[in-house]
Amino acid sequence: MKGLYDNEMKLEFISKTNNEAFARITVAAFVSQLDPTIDELSDIKTAVSEAVTNSIIHGYEDEEGIIRVSAKLFGNSVEIEISDNGKGIGNIEEARKPLYTSKPNLERSGMGFTIMESFMDDVKIESALGLGTKITMRKQIGGEKQEEEMDVREA
């Protein structure tokens, strides 16, 4: 394990919606070490909030369960993992579709995965029915700055 990541943290909490703010604010505070812009931090908070909400209202529905959040820093990248032992996603393809929701009665917009995918560089969904779901998301901090530097080099 030693030397794999520059820094790492783990959180565990029960599936209550009160914990959405706790989760996103804690991850944002941890990622702050990479000196992100306000926009980058806001993107990460939003993506974490979406994934945690999914675990609470879809994964565990009305039951109480444990949600695990971990964040790993390496170089100028962050990898965030959010997992639950809830009911799992039957059809990931369908769940990823913008505006698809299995819970319109809760006024869910079906934009959760679309937002995660557009706010993070990479989103991986692993799920098994009856076992749970794991979301792994990556984002490079200061990505735009780097691209600019590369452009200069190419020119």
């Binding site: 959405e20 703010a21 926009d39 806001s42 609470i56 209202i57 913008p98 006024e107 917009s109």
Partner: protein, 110 residues
Amino acid sequence: MIVEFKKEDKVLIFKLTEDVDQHTSEKIRRKMDNEIKRYIPRKVIFDFSNISFMDSAGIGMVLGRYKLAQMLDGELEIINVNRAMKKIFDMSGVSRIINIVEEEKNEGVI
């Protein structure tokens, strides 16, 4: 949330005071519905100036109230959203049906 009703022009303002996620939106949407039904406003305004965060729960919260306001012949406007909120409203198509005024530091935009 601070609720304000301007009687003379029948404008109902919801000034949000807590970041919007599934937890907070569930708490306030019933109250919003009750206020809309009570005043039957000509216009409902969502003011985001006091908060800095909203996730996709904000989409449902706004659209739900928009439908109710429309049913009662009113309109709905969203004001003082930041860049991240605007992005979410754009992605979900909300900005195509609801007028959104981005953050600006002039007070009393009605």
